[in-house]
Symmetry: C2
Subunit: 150 residues, 2 copies
């Protein structure tokens, strides 16, 4: 069910990487974070625990696929996962590749910046994104019908 | 395996609410957030995707139990979930009851404060915590040997 006025019901919310019946993956346009993805649940639900067990497992298996692909392709210093939704209470997982050179590391992306990230490093991640996003789409297409296998 | 020098290997990291063989739940001492919990994985692992599928499901089933208990006992405006670990790369999930009156809402707890929370509202949550934490311990004790039932 779509909720009128919800930005994640009304539009994709970012660059669409994968779309399946239960969720989609978008690349968020967040300055300084070239590998900031969001897994958006298709149905308008507010809390993670609004999902049933099989849906939760499917959702987190997909989050893990994204995390693993980020690790393989980008070798980030850390991956950050978060389901907040205070502003847009439509279930979505932030999945963010963090690097020790990024503008906020080791702070969360929502904390104040600590430095300006070097543009050549951001460009390096951007160059790897084509391969990364092909892999992301492929992994999620394989897994989207499967409730338990990672 | 414990990692020397890791604060989540060396100590509980907060007020212990529940401890099982695979994870523990602690209440974090974060000023202004009276219902800020952390589910800490016992083994020193860095990323969520370092867990195998059964461990991941066990972990998220426990996170969901905590979220559901927070919802039942406190009726928060929103629950926030996050696995960041940039500073302490030992797998832990932040599980935070958020209220529209709290100091940072609707911003993340890591963003700048937007107001001072009213002490009487914080005290109201603190009074509910005894019942909440008994329920948390009971739910996690029941679920900790069970890999799939929420």
């Amino acid at each position: 069910m779509k909720r009128p006025g919800c930005p994640l019901c009304d539009g994709p919310g970012g660059v669409l990487v994968f779309e399946g019946p239960q969720f989609r993956l978008i690349r968020a346009d967040e300055a300084g974070f070239p590998a900031f993805y969001r897994l958006v649940w298709a149905e308008h639900l507010s809390e993670f625990s609004d999902l049933g067990p099989a849906q939760r497992h499917l959702c987190m298996d997909a989050v893990v696929q994204v995390e693993q692909s980020l690790r393989v392709h980008l070798h980030p210093t850390k991956v950050n996962l978060a389901a907040l939704g205070n502003v847009v209470p439509h279930l979505h997982w932030h999945i963010i590749a963090r690097f020790d050179w990024d503008s906020h590391f080791p702070g969360p992306v929502w904390a104040p910046a600590q430095r300006e990230a070097a543009p050549d490093r951001i460009a390096w991640v951007e160059r790897l994104r084509t391969g990364l996003e092909e892999d992301l789409a492929s992994r999620l297409a394989k897994g989207s019908g499967n409730l338990t296998t990672p």
